[in-house]
């Protein structure tokens, strides 16, 4: 087995594992009655989610950094001097992104005057799901951003680009669909803004990971006649 193929298989497995972990986290948050219950301690639970997402992203990034065969695509050759500036810019974007997501959430119907803290936490979660992978895996490469979002995802060769595409789209969609049960009168404690949206975003993210764990090897196989799957 070539190094490249091994990498693809490993990243697919990593995606699958983290998808199950995040899915499990979402279910635990809803079912649990104790300290980590999202109904009782909404804000700490969302912080926990943000932490989990960040850890997962960093894990994939570290994995990518350590295990990726260098010969495949050597575009990430950046000089050290400009790296500090890049990191600063990334942090700036990460700082601004929650405010943008907050605004979008309000435009989509979140309360404006009440529960601002909850909305902001939700926005932080979304930016950790959407912006953080972008910055980690694609950097400040605007062309890559546009390529991922506007062009068809099938044209993305890089497995990480696909990963970013699926997770970000799915978590945004999940967060939006999470709002559907709020107006229903099932009288469940989680039918409160933003709990169901947080759960929806988490599940969406998990679905995105799952999808990419399926799509990345399939794409690679189609391209390289790779027979492992």
């Amino acid at each position: 087995m070539k190094a490249q193929e091994k990498f693809i298989v490993l990243i697919s497995v990593a995606c699958f594992l983290s998808a199950t972990l995040i899915c499990g986290l979402a279910i635990t948050l809803v079912i649990n009655d104790g300290v980590v219950s999202i109904v009782k301690n909404t804000l700490p639970a969302i912080k926990l989610c943000v932490g989990a997402i960040c850890a997962q992203c960093l894990f994939i990034w570290l994995f990518n950094w350590r295990c990726r065969p260098v010969d495949s695509l050597n575009k990430n050759q950046v000089r050290v001097s400009s790296q500090a500036l890049t990191i600063l810019k990334c942090i700036g974007i990460l700082f601004i992104a929650p405010f943008i997501f907050h605004g979008i959430a309000v435009l989509f119907g979140a309360p404006f005057f009440e529960s601002t803290a909850q909305t902001y936490h939700f926005a932080v979660l979304l930016s950790s799901q959407v912006c953080l992978p972008f910055l980690l895996f694609l950097g400040l490469d605007l062309d890559a951003w546009l390529r991922v979002f506007t062009d068809n995802s099938s044209e993305c060769i890089d497995p990480l680009e696909q990963l970013v595409y699926y997770t970000s789209i799915c978590s945004l969609l999940g967060g939006w669909l999470g709002a559907v049960p709020i107006p229903l009168d099932w009288d469940r404690p989680w039918q409160v803004w933003p709990i169901s949206c947080v759960i929806g975003a988490l599940l969406g993210y998990a679905v995105g990971l799952l999808l990419s764990s399926i799509v990345i090897p399939r794409q690679y196989r189609a391209r390289h006649k790779f027979k492992f799957f």
């Binding site: 435009l107 989509f108 099932w186």
Partner: protein, 936 residues
Amino acid sequence: MFGIKLFALMCITFSLTLMGALVFLKGFLLSRTVVEQASMCNEDFVLKADDHSGHGIKGCWMHGRFKRAIIIVIDALKYDFMVYNESLHSAEYANSPFKNNLKVIHDLAKRHPAHSLAFKFIADPPTTTLQRLKGLTTGSLPTFVDAGANFQSAEITEDNIIDQMRRQNKNIIFLGDDTWMSLFPNRFYKHYEFPSFDVKDLHTVDNGILDHFYEEIQRPDWDIAIAHFLGVDHCGHRYGPSNDAMRNKLLQMNDVIRNVTHQMHQDTILFVMGDHGMTRTGDHGGDSSDELEAGLFIYSPTQITSSEQTEVAAISQIDFVPTISLLLGLPIPFSNLGMVIPELFSHCPWWDTDTHEVRRVYHRVKALRLNVLQINRYLQAYDEIASDLPDNILKDLQTKIRQAEDELKQVVPDLVSGGHPERILKQFQNIEKIYKLYAHTAKETCQGKKTGGTQKVVRKQKSTKFDVMHFVGNPITKSGMMAVSICLVLRSAHMFYVCREEQSSCKDSFFHAPLSTVDKAFANQRYVFSLVCLAMMVYFVRQWLKYYGNMTGSEAGVITMRYAPPIAAVCIGLYWALQAVPESALEALSPWQQAVLAQAVYMVVILALSVIFIWPLLVYNHPTSLSPGAAILNQADLTSVIPNLYNKLKVQLSSSPKDQTPPVVYGLGTVYCASLVTFVSLVSLVLALLLGDGVAPSLALATVSLYLCLEMYSAIVAITHCSNEHGSQDEDYDTDSDTGPLFSGLVMLNLLSSTFFYATGHQATIPSIRFESAYTGFYGNFTNMILPGFLIWLNTFAGPVFFVLASPLLITWPALKGVMRWTTQDSEKRQQQKTWQGDFKLFNNGIKFRKDMFQLCCGIITISGLKLFSAGCAAALHRRHLMVWKIFAPRLVYEVAFFLTTSVCVMLTYLFILRVDKALNKFVDSLPSNSRDKRV
């Protein structure tokens, strides 16, 4: 002719769908079958022993207890108004104007505890006056469909208490609400009726009654006196319960009750009742507990009950009918389902009930027995005609009655022989229990509310809004700003949403309160805000027309558009200001003075619309003798130079170069759009007037969102064209490429119209109909109900009417290639704009244009038909649901109305476009011959 043929096809489609919907509705909203039988004085189940001949007043089924009755109906007398709380502080009293005003009831209850009774008087929904009057006189339950008939009240044919009184030769005098006169024509011995429909008028009815009431009840020639006061209800509609006007009204009612009780004789009984309650905002019609809980107070100078009333019980409104029947010695009306009030039958002055507990119970049981036998006979008669009562319950009820009869037969001989008073008492109480249970079961069975789960889905409008958002949020990269602004507009439209009654924690925004009741500081701000929005609407349209050169020249249409909207807007503003004036000052004006401003708006808009229909073109044919350069120099207004230039170029290109100077036509590039925009903006002025000053700003939001969505849609159309055919898309209308209206556009329009149905302050429930909108511009009573019905209809469906009338813009707007298009295209493509024709190019291919219009109209009808279908499915699925009459049935009815509105508006706007096309045809014919070859 092709257009007319398509129109006929559209009509057939529409009427087929509508017929299907109506058939479904007829089956779904089953109306109660009326049993046209009347109770007789001599019925076989009446025991002769009941008639205590020798004492009391001879009666039919039971001896009469009273000879005369005074019934005072105070419209919308909520139970809370009747309660007197002694511990209420004076400060609290000043803050809540509806509390502690009916002191006389409290005083009487304190002074003569055995002479008076007070009850919570629970109405059956719908809580509209006509329905309640039917219930209060026939004792039967209303049906859902009847609620719509409030404007066209018809005579009651069912057996009722009034007819029973007449049959026993009782003289009835009636004063007050003229609804009674339409329900019971030619039944009253004397009547003084007053118009009821004008809710702004607080005093005419009440003062009219009081002019005659005291005088009449002092005469000896009547047996029953009915007075129906409307002031409290009108005050609630106008100002809500928490206004000082309500205190004055209730204090007036207090005086009325006091004066009447002073004048009463010993043989008279007084009923003071409300026909329904009111919500916190003073409205009624639904089935929230605020609306259902009316008050009832019974008083007589003689003793009426054996023991003092310890707590206030809740009784049903239909219980009034059997009670008053037996008290006056009348037969109970045939289709009554109510149960006699037992407290009133435990005391009989001629029968020693004070000393014997057994006799008290026996007296009660006798009344209950007659009552139950009557209900039983009604159920049997009903079951023969209509078979929608469950058989097993009926059988169950029959056995109950037989059991009670048997027991009674055993007990009565014991009573006569006078043995074992405890055992007899127990048996009687047992029988009483059976009778009461019977009456309850019968009523519940007829209500049909015994089945169904408890899940309900509330706040439907949220999801619609999200759908719009989702649609708009399509990833079109360069229209992000536009998407954000559409989101912003739709989000701010949320301010105008009203709450459903189920949403207990929800509070209406202050846009929905009448201006005269809003806090002074906010009132001015709100008024100015509304004015600014209105002015923006007019100004925006005007600027748009000016920009495309449609406001040049002195054609009739142009002149109209120049002057009509500002005049109408000023009148609307003044009319709103007049509404804010306090009531006391308003009464100094005569009715026509209050209405004249609104009527002026109607006149101006109708005039303008007819002018637009006769001369629909907003174009100006510049005299051809001038050279093009001179034409530009003459035009001082720079904004119209652009269209001017474009049009000139267009005509130059189209004519062969060897010809003389081509005609210069202003505004030809937007000929269809301009006419439509004019049409819609004129209609929207009327809609703004009807919506009132509070909600009218949402129409401004609707205008903005329509503009933004159309721009966005044009961009999408342009992109679709670009990807479909590379390059030469400017000629696509000549080459028969198949590009009708896109499906996304139709969906967008439909979602917008349903979003703005909610955003104009409506909900798909019966109580949220804004009946007061019928009085904008009309004062006093209406001779027919078509006009007020139409106005209420327009108010309710303001959003859909606005968007659907504007629907042909989906075809004409992309041809304009407006702001969005310029930004999406590369700079080199701007070169092609020299040949800009605007939507005039649609004219080149008349058949294609008509086909597209037809496709558009049918698409809109189909989508709203699909919505109707889903609503029908939901209603059919939930027909046994607990909430069916509260959520699903109103929703279905609204959806039918929505479909009707949409279809009619689509057809109107289609005809208008045909008219514009015809006029354009004529106009092009009148141009010099060299430009004519452009036309197919």
